[in-house]
Symmetry: D2
Subunit: 425 residues, 4 copies
């Protein structure tokens, strides 16, 4: 299945008059405040958020998995799904592959499929937290951190292979999420685990092409429950510094202890020019992998506020923008559409903040005013602006509604069947 | 100092045309969706949030206290401050006193002062967590829970006295926040501490007039750091049930462990008809006592969504609405104005949710739609509606701005001096 | 495979002299303090902790499952494994079955197998958090709480069937862990979900035999990530009270928010005579399901201290003692042996506390002394006492060592193969 | 008041026979396992933990302070108290001063007092989180991080002055705990706050003598409740690296988010040779500042296990060992005695671990064995060993008991009065 521009524009027709009324009022309000609406629209259009290949099917928990219907069973079907999402919101022009869940066999066919729907290949992701059927050694007790050198070598080789796949596809980054850790005190030497990881990453780093980034995730716990080798941004940053200028820290919003001030981590990493990118999602408890913006939308805005300031004030290089969510209950594609909306809305709100006026308030410690400035931006309803940005780019005024009106899921079920299950978690 | 209606209306003049433009657009948008704007405005005007007497001065932490200027040194000055707030937002027509920080000596004078600025007396608060200068026994090791019966009797008598004071002022509720707990395992018998508390509350309960409520707070920790006698809503609810129909649970938003789903507690308590009221504030870590809505505005909306549904679906009696914040850094009055705005905005957003449409989505497990419904209400910018509700009631379109334009703080400093310090924390 | 008394006593021979030296010294030391060692030994021998059938195989996380070898593939094999554990420690004379993972087909054969190794059947566990192959309706959006009455009826019928199975086996309790909840605000009405649950539990309750208990678990999150219907002890307690005298709250140590004071919950539930039993495990972050005592052994002691006091001071009925752990990395049987040791050691330590002396310290607020009393009990090395209790009952002085010396796992792998996988998580 | 060796030895007399029995059995047991008891005793004797001057009086919370009697009102009295503690346990031969709570006026007198009781001066602590009476600018909105350069200069000058004081006393380290942060989003620029802090620390660093250490604390929240400039070990480590080889990270056990794996932070910092020292205390919720070992003794052991391994395996320099507790309820001196016992006991347990055997288990992923090894060390009752180490050094077999038998507090109250209050929190 593939959505055409015409289909989407037809749908927009029925919404255009209400949209125009809202957008015009908003644009006028913003212009009155001296905000350049056209600039905002351009910036919003430029922000493209990659879709992870594993998020197109229903993810499960350890207690079970309840698949929906019409899930993409092959990589080409996953690419088609991203193509549909991108057609709807013009905001997701790339897919982020997870190896070995999505090993391309025929590279040309894969690239053609992607080109056909206007998408490219963002960061490739390695997987050394699950054993594959044919695997010589097990990752049960860790991969890059394992005390057994043959396991480490297996994991290094896998990462090198993932890079090779990414090069053929045109990716420019390798994301390493390392589950390695321990579930019991004494299980391993935390020092040696970190050193093994460092040395193994060095070998992988050498295989990273010069124009690539190596993105290092961190996470405090799960799937191990006592310690994780790269437990926090400090550890990831330590490793990225040791590795060199191609290595960066990647922030997954769900990978923090309760109450962590994530926006401050973002600020610090940008100051140090070591923020590599994001895995966006939302959570209330742990790595819940919920729809972006569904639980803590204000925190998302505060993060974007740091990002916008960081791009103005630091030399941090451009970021990799990715979603990492696990869609247990909603239709995965609707979930992704909601996530992209939430991200772009937070970005738009952050762009609204007048950083000079804010700075003046900060300098005289006028906290009341600083809060009013931030909340004024946050509480302004910018959905018409976002809709206009998408509409002008050829997307839908309301992507979720259009997804439903065009009966995308029903069509996919017809094409793929009700029991089709995506590879992944 | 006292603000007149004229002063405020003068200030509104300069903002009226922009406000009118915004309000008219919003009202039209809402009416198009079938929402009755005038009903919303009435409901918003009816919601009155009591100001705690202790929040008018700068609160401190254990590491220090940095007072501002012009703080109210007497109860009459505190009442004046509440009068100013109420004049500005027409939303805080009552003060909640804390005994012994604010023991009235001349009741008639106090009542006259309050009547003069149009405010009444909400719940009275007892204090058995600090020793007073003349006190025979110490609360160091607990009050109502203390193993020493003479301490318990002192604390019971204090609560009875607070009720007597409240009766003279026209209060209709006693709020009991019991710090009692332990900082070390073994310090006291948790069972006996709970039983002592139950028995002591029974005696206090008997002194509670028939048309009053006894509001029982809960809190997991601080100022004791191992256990608190009334550690959670379950314990408060248990006690309220044992005590009888005048006893209710009071929810302070900051009194929960990390990640607690507070809105669910609200839902359960209303179902059981035992929700008595709120202490509103906001927090990121613990009982941070920050400005309402400054950290987690979406959670506040979700709480109000449960409240609005609860009033429709349950027989829970009307609530006591109070702020409990500690203003360490901002001007306390500005902070309170921001808090009231945040509360009323969350209420307005919750009123916007079409509960029937939401219920339909819930029944068919259409989670995507349910999220869209809630977030549509939350993301609609209802500030013009709130401003209109306040303006029509005689308040300011923008209370914080008007507070500043009218140079309230400067005047208070002139009247009271720079070093005036409020009693309280 | 089955262990004989002789095999174990042979193993004990090599350890007996060192053990005797340690035990004699300890016994003398305790007697000097007025502690009756023989009484302690009896009490330790009496405490029997049921083994959950699902813990005999390797559990997984959502990221994967790394099975070990020789796992029990059938219910009879699981019973054999429990028999081996019980032969080793004489402390686990019952198995707790999980339906439908372990539906008995031939009841007589099952009962004969169990009788053969001296074990009985503890609480039966229902499962309405996973769909079974043939199932008419899905639990994807909840079971007892579901807005769809046909799903609720399915779940009720399943629980009734589990009770019927339990009756045939001689169980005396049904444990209901209800995953039901929501992952997004607005997904369901929290009020209706609770009411549906209450009504459904009422129907199940009617099927619970008079001499049984209905044990209601609570848990704050997972597998749903916004709300759980029975989120905390307060909600479980509320339901148990409404249901009647056969209904009790079950405490799973891993089912709490960060920093929860679990021992206080135990104390309160016993005071209210509503504590039904335990699922023992340990955790650092969430429901980590680690070996009991591997992370927070002092907390375990404090819980047992409340239990011992509770049995002295309240009328709470005898408890169901069960382990609920998920063994991802260790040999499951070794893990269970370690768990039982940790539980019994904590119990022994708690028995050592002189409650009268402690109470005297508490009454005069002598916190230093209270801490010394508790820590003296905790720091006393009671392992020789536990070993003696087990040895005298026919078990091993050191169960884990004996398990290894007798090459239990190797034998099981020989019997069952390396790829045998247990049903369950 | 001053304790003599004779007084303590007299007290020991009544306990010596029971102690001898226990010690001899333990020593024999350890020697049988190949552990060199005399070496253990030496190492235990060598570990000296500095007492903070502010912990000798009762600390308070924001809700109040309940002083005990006989608190040291002057620096000389504080030194006397440390002298008493050291006489009792021979384990606290230094005091750590907090400026300006304890500014020495007559340096020679202070040094003479200290020499008289055999104690020296550990790290000096600066205070830029409270305003002093005469202060030109306020720290209300931060000190080293403040956007106002005159405040920063004041704070820098204060730190330089503290160094100067420390030099006169013989201190070899400056501990900087920086409360600086924000309580509201937008209050300050987190980037500029960090940069200001870095530049200010650079100036302070230049004043740090070559043979000194600059110890940088971190803390996630309190007294600010949205962000703290040095929020975690990563930020402290970042700054210490930028500053140079005299700068180190200091770990305060209470300064972490819920569930943090502190022992892993210790391991990482030692690997990087940047661990500077500790502030020991214990906590259940936040920075509770409770007696060391009173809440999580196993965590303390695990931290010491990393320390012992770290000293073997890394080049991290020797540490500053300090207590930082706030004694709200217990007699502060008893509390400190209990804390020192807990620290040394954890150290002794950690020394018991056979690192080679542990390593072998780790290499073959024998997690069951690794847990047995750690828990065997932890569960061995080493209190007789510690008592012997203290006794041989001239201290008490049981310091708390001896403190009470010698009626230290009663004497201090007689000398200083019941209302004497120590400076500090």
């Amino acid at each position: 299945m593939k959505l055409s521009l015409d289909q989407i524009q037809d749908q927009n027709l029925s919404q255009i008059s209400e949209h125009a009324r809202n957008f015009e009022f908003l644009a006028e309000s913003l212009e009155k405040k001296g905000i350049k609406v056209e600039e905002l629209i351009s910036k919003l259009q430029e922000l493209q958020i990659a879709i992870p290949s594993w998020a197109l099917g229903t993810g499960g928990t350890r207690f079970g998995r309840f698949s929906g219907g019409g899930e993409p069973a092959t990589l080409i079907q996953k690419i088609q799904d991203v193509g549909i999402l991108h057609a709807l919101n013009q905001s997701s022009n790339a897919v982020s592959l997870h190896i070995p869940w999505d090993i391309p066999s025929d590279f040309q066919a894969i690239k053609d499929s992607a080109a056909d729907v206007g998408i490219g290949f963002d960061a490739v992701n390695s997987n050394t937290f699950q054993d594959q059927a044919e695997q010589a050694n097990s990752y049960k007790f860790g991969s890059l951190a394992n005390s057994d050198s043959s396991v480490r070598e297996l994991a290094i080789a896998h990462n090198q292979e993932v890079i090779a796949i990414g090069e053929k596809l045109g990716s420019k980054a390798l994301t390493v999420w390392l589950a390695d850790g321990s579930s019991f005190p004494g299980q391993h030497s935390m020092r040696k685990a970190l050193e093994n990881t460092h040395l193994a990453l060095q070998e992988i780093y050498q295989a990273v092409p010069e124009d690539w980034k190596l993105l290092i995730e961190y996470k405090p716990y799960e799937p191990y429950f006592y310690s994780t080798v790269i437990q926090d941004w400090g550890t990831s940053f330590l490793l990225a510094n040791k590795l060199g200028k191609k290595a960066y820290t990647l922030v997954d919003l769900g990978h923090h202890l309760p109450n962590t001030n994530i926006e401050q981590i973002v600020s610090t990493l940008m100051t140090e020019e070591k923020l590599g990118g994001f895995h966006f999602n939302d959570s209330k408890y742990g790595d819940d992998d919920l729809t972006v913006g569904s639980i803590k939308p204000y925190q998302l805005f505060l993060i974007f506020q740091e990002l916008v300031k960081g791009f103005e004030e630091t030399k941090n290089p451009p970021l990799s923008w990715m979603i990492d969510a696990s869609h247990n209950l909603k239709d995965p594609m609707e979930d992704l559409l909601q996530s992209v909306q939430a991200i772009k809305l937070a970005y738009a709100q952050a762009l609204l903040v007048d950083s000079q006026v804010l700075q003046q308030a900060q300098e005289i410690h006028d906290i009341t005013a600083a809060q009013e400035i931030l909340q004024d931006a946050y509480r302004t309803d910018l959905r018409p602006l976002l809709a206009e940005a998408m509409r002008r780019a050829g997307g839908a005024i309301n992507p979720v509604k259009t997804f439903r009106n065009l009966k995308v899921r029903e069509t996919l079920i017809q094409e793929r069947g009700l029991k089709s299950i995506a590879s992944g978690l």
